[in-house]
Amino acid sequence: MIVRMLSAALVAGFLAAVVATGLQLALTSPLILQAETFEGGHSHASAAQGAPAVAPPAAVTLAALIVPAHAHSHAHGHGDAAPGETSDAWEPAPGFPRMAFTGLATLVGGVGYALLLAAVMLALRREPTPQAGLGIGIAGFLAVVLAPAIGLPPELPGMGAAPLALRQSWWLMTVAATGVGLYLIAVRRVPLTILGGLVLIVAPHLVGAPHSVDTVSSPLPPATAAQFAARSLAIGFVFWALIGLAYGWAWGLFARSAGADAPVRAHG
């Protein structure tokens, strides 16, 4: 069972990561590169290649995947940079290596999400079918992507923000509370748990996400930030839905190969 689950999670994470990586490279990475041109202290990478330090957005978008602009780590002006983080920390080279590492990170994250989805299905004792997987995948999207985005909208580099540790804590708390809340509402489904679930889902937003006082002074065009947020949420939805669908599909696929898990066993 463990081998079958791990195999299905690997397949699901891989398939979803392939699609999500394509979407990220096409939709969000160009906006990230564009935003980095508005960040201070980034100029060395561009200048080294003879590109203008601040290019017009249209040109940046076109050249986004080839013009090196990844130097955001120098621009940690908000004082939340990890201790010891310096400008000479390793980072993937611009262009293809950076795209490859984005793909790798998406793969690692996708397999991780697929395993968590598998754990939830096991805990709920749901037989993994594509349909059941899609249901849990959408719940995952609601809890992990949409709920935290209400308080902390998807953010481009260079946008003013509250300290990282505060935002990470609020993010984790919101994901956990929304997940448990959805469970109480959708699985337990009696008035008391539905009420409790609603309270859990709303509570993090009543507490409020940590906000910086300095979100207004960002030089980033608001339209770019809005477009990034919308695209990011759309990619998150596709990612989670595919992970759920593919996990259910792959679980069925490995049914025959995992003979030890067949429902009928030899009597000892």
């Binding site: 069972m1 791990l6 990220q24 920390a89 984005t102 994250g109 598998a118 754990a119 481009l156 990470q168």
Partner: protein, 59 residues
Amino acid sequence: MTTATLQTQAATRSGEGARALLVAAFLGLGLVFVAGFAPASALHNAAHDFRHAQNFPCH
């Protein structure tokens, strides 16, 4: 005898299920941590665009 065997099998299955759940949760949280939260700056830089696109709080 049969009942005992069935009970043993059921216990084995649920024990296996619990083990599978622990393995999945542990590995899953570990991978998501590496991709989305690990503070080491090399990991942060490698996963930077993924973290932004998937709305992890990032620098």
